[in-house]
Amino acid sequence: MSTFNYTILIPALPLAMFLLIGLTGHKFKALVSGIAGTASLGFITILSYITAINYFWGTGMVNDVYQTIIPFNFEWLNFTETLQVKMGVLLDPISVMMLVVITTVSFAVHLYSIGYMKGEVGFSRFFAFLSLFSFSMLGLVLATNIFQMYIFWELVGVSSFLLIGYYYEKPSAVAASKKAFIVTRFADFGFLVGILILSYFTGTFDFGILTNPLTSPVASFVGTSFMGISVISWAMILIFMGGAGKSAMLPFHIWLPDAMEGPTPVSALIHAATMVVAGVYLVARMFVVYHLWAPDVQEVIAWVGGITSLFAAVIAITQYDIKRVLAFSTLSQIGYMMLALGVSGYGEHAGVGYMASMFHLFTHAMFKALLFLGAGSVIHSVHSNYMYDMGGLRKYLPITHITFLIACLTIAGVPFLSGFYSKDEILVAAFEHNKILFGIEYLVAGLTAFYMFRLYFNIFWGEDKVYHHTPHESPLVMTIPLMVLAFGSIFSGYLPFSHLVTSDKMAFTTHLDYAIAIPSILIGFLGIGVAWIMYKKKTDIPDRISAALGGFYTTVYNKFYFDEIYLFVTRKILFNIVSQSVAWFDRHIVDGSMNGIANVVITSSKKIKSLQSGQLQQYAAVFVAGALGLLLYVIYLLG
């Protein structure tokens, strides 16, 4: 076990880099911070690979079961004598897999940012934040208990806030960062209450204890119900609420498209590959509890995932901002992963959904990061986010073009690329569980292919637009990460995931189910074909279709007015009605009654004051009258 002691360095090093760059970054040339950050991330990437190789093909498996290894766990806080919060490092198949994903993408993004962010004000601040994010995200996946996860969950939230608001002089970026933070914070409120309920009943935070299928204390509380639903279901659905917030599932999805205000490398790292899948990771981490003791919640997860994937795919078709298209595509793909977890069973082949979800998470991280970085490269050369400012770019940006095409093909589910394999497993799992969800996913597969190639053709084909200057290929420091990720997108599908990451940590074998794979390939090609017809050359078909759809098109284009509903609730109801009236109530009723008491005192003292006229003779008269009165009293009444 002790062989994994070095893993503590994996989260520690980025933290050190964050403090170092954050505190001393302004003293050096900006590039120094970038190189230092990238180098340290390169180092932990190597460490993560070593860990992965050691774990999966070395000491990780004992008696055909992947062990949970905790090389490091120290007490951070004792809430009570029995309830402790620990900080540690937990290695099991999913966390090791996540290590690889995070470090790979993060390293690619660091490298890419050296080129992309060149000359920006606050270059070293950017790298400090990236390091902070890497630290938090690694801490999150390595968490040994749910409370540690919550801690890092909040930290990734704040690093995401800082990075989205990187261009803090731009009001839209500030608004987007606020929105992201507050929406996820609201979801985290659910998460926290969920943790509270769970820990109240089970008396522990520890994943090892909670998710043990045989001895988990959760099992004994399934019977306890509250308002007709088991308390465990309550806890688990609230915890899922946290996951849904981070992973931007319906109805918490609204922050993700706006989060594209951040620099593109950030979108690639945080809002495509790593942080947004934290929700999926959370559900996967607690999968045993969901599956065995809260199956009703698992069903909810499946449907939320399914509906989100469809919903986002539909919106993606109508968007013009290329980063937003990618953002909705991310939503849609994460919906896939959630759905896969929702439909999965436990153990052996039944757990194919679980495996597929993790598999898709892995491949998605590669190709979606690639898409974002590719989009960044395009934006970098065109200085616009909108696809109607682009066209014919394949001539100018050959490397970007090829890698972007690879990514599009991958996400569209073209055979022999990684996306095909992972998506196929998800479809298999969905087919075995629920035919309606399966149907939705088929449809989404086609839509995905269509909108991705709509994007692709609009950017790289068609006529040249008027450019400020001739678009040029990005520097090598930006294209190398593209190539690395393209490599990952192509080949990561060949990883034997069913041998590595499974629900019960035991290997099983899968094979392609042609009855499902072939229709999905066809539907993928259908989507690509339609996009080819509509967008390869400029035609008026898209306009005619959108005109024919009329109101429905407008609704979709405006993202089903979700933002407006949220704005109405927050701005109109919470701000204007609740908090304005609270402020008014405080000033006028509460404070008013205090002032009222003071006023009563003042008024009555003014009334009484006239007795004190200051006229000596009046006093004397009263005095004499009093003395006489007393005298009479003494003489006649007492005498």
Partner: protein
């Protein structure tokens, strides 16, 4: 000599030093050196305390000494500390130290200003080390009186009104308090026939239940007014808004904590049964106050008002935690006192510094300050994040302990109140981010602001000393948490512990 006496002696010497110094520069240097020594003393006391505990002493209070002061009604000058007061002393000395540097540029009647400020601090220190209720009360009054002068003379805006309001409301609280105090004095059955004000002696006996029922609200509300308990909090927004920077810092940072501390140490400790019986009323009040303060803060336009309402919300959480009556929540409440003390002092310091540059506190008139004063901007952001309970900063640990403790109650009433209190974390995020967004981020609204300068060295000392404490507690809370946890034991044992 008892080292605790230094806590009173050093401020008195400092005041004398200030009184005889001649130049403006000498005055503030003397004040700074004095309060630096005070800070060192507090840290030493903390270590001495931990050393004593480590050596296996389990007395409730340590470092005790006792002088008879007034034999006829048995008033003593008894001092001693436990983990809670040691922590509060450290908090106070940090805040006072930062406060001195935050008021480095006070020019009007400087000598008098620093004298009043340090007298105020002396009162607070005395309060925390006293065991005798009478001297405790005496010190409390000593802390309240200079407040009137400090706000009335050196304040801004409607300062006379605010100073008067604050003083009168706090004095009304004191009036309730002294009723409770004499109730406790006369009605707690003494073992040897001699009435006493000694807290530890009093705690050995209990009052009869009807007496407790009668006097508990007096003590609770008396301290509650000071702790900004809804609906007796309205002195706080006006008072803070008018007070000069260092006074706001000290007041919100430390003096309001006297309320929570008193509720805990006097009201609940000496009248445990009544506390358990009447807790529900105050739980309703405090959980309302938590969410109410947060919503109130959203709508404010003045930075200090925002912070004052946020204090109402956070201090509500303190009393809420105390009322949960189990060790985890109480520990959280005490941590919250410390954390909020540091945080809010930091906020007020920053607001003062920003105000001294922009000459306005209305957030909509400012914008993009991060660009021109990055140091202050970053510190403000961190303080904001601490306030909304970001892990790694002090607020998080405190809030979580309160919530986890509160959740140990399994009845519907406590659950609903707890969830209401938890939901405030979302609202807190809203108003903090709103301020950060308008004030620090976005484009610079006023061209003149481009010429503003960043923090000076003394402002950096002031903010960093608080910031380090906030981060220190947040990153490694265990030692503080455990120290408080041990000391809560005897008090929690008297309450009904769930």
């Amino acid at each position: 000599m008892n080292i605790l006496n230094l806590l009173i002696l050093i401020p008195i010497l400092t005041v004398t030093g200030i009184a005889v110094s001649k130049s403006m520069d000498a005055v503030r240097k003397v004040a700074a050196i004095g309060m630096f020594l005070q800070l060192i003393t507090s840290i030493v006391i903390l270590f001495v305390y931990m050393g004593i505990r480590k050596s296996g002493v389990t007395d409730e209070m340590v470092l005790m000494s006792d002088y008879t002061w007034f034999t006829t009604i048995n008033i003593h000058y008894t001092i001693g500390i436990d983990g809670i007061s040691a922590a509060m002393i450290l908090l106070t000395s940090i805040v006072v130290f930062a406060g001195i540097f935050a008021s480095w540029e006070v020019s009007n009647l400087q000598k008098e200003f620093f004298i009043s400020l340090i007298l105020l601090a002396t009162g607070v220190f005395g309060f925390f080390i006293s065991i005798d209720l009478f001297t405790m009360f005496l010190y409390y009054e000593l802390a309240v009186i200079p407040m009137y002068l400090l706000i009335g003379i050196w304040g801004t805006g409607p300062k006379e009104y605010s100073a008067m309001k604050l003083t009168i409301m706090l004095m009304a609280g004191s009036a309730l308090l002294i009723v409770a105090l004499f109730g406790i004095y006369y009605l707690t059955g003494p073992a040897d026939g001699q009435h006493t004000f000694n807290l530890l002696e009093l705690a050995k006996n209990t009052m009869s239940l009807p007496a407790q029922r009668f006097f508990f609200p007096f003590a609770f509300l008396g301290f509650g007014v000071l702790g900004a308990l809804f609906p007796f909090h309205t002195w706080s927004p006006d008072g803070h808004a008018s007070a000069p920077t260092a006074v706001s810092m000290l007041h919100a940072g430390v003096l309001m904590k006297l309320g929570g501390y008193g509720i805990f140490r006097i009201a609940m400790y000496l009248m445990p049964q009544a506390a358990a019986e009447q807790a529900w009323i105050f739980i309703i009040l405090t959980s309302t106050s938590v969410i109410y303060g947060a919503f109130g803060a959203i709508w404010q336009k003045d930075l200090k008002y925002i912070n004052a309402y946020s204090s109402v919300s956070h201090c509500g959480l303190v009393i809420f935690g105390l009322l949960m009556m189990n060790k985890t929540a109480m520990d959280g409440a005490i941590l919250q006192m410390i954390s909020h003390g540091l945080m809010t002092a930091l906020f007020f310091a920053l607001i003062g510094m920003i105000y001294s540059r922009t000459h306005t506190r209305i957030i909509s008139e400012m914008g993009g300050l991060m660009k021109v004063m990055p140091f202050l901007g970053v510190v403000y952001l961190i303080a904001g994040l601490a306030s909304l309970g970001l892990p790694g900063l002090s607020g998080f640990v405190a809030e979580m302990s309160i919530f986890f403790g509160a959740f140990q109650h399994d009845d519907m009433f406590h659950r609903v109140a707890t969830i209401m209190a938890i939901s405030a974390i979302v609202v807190t995020a809203v108003y903090i981010l709103r301020v950060v967004g308008i004030l620090l981020l976005g484009p610079i609204k006023n061209e003149e602001y481009k010429l503003l300068t960043d923090a000076t060295w003394y402002e950096k000392i002031s903010t960093l000393s608080l910031l380090i404490a906030v981060a220190g507690i947040g990153i490694y809370p265990t030692w503080l948490y455990n120290m408080i946890y041990e000391s809560i034991g005897p008090i929690a044992a008297k309450l009904i512990v769930y």
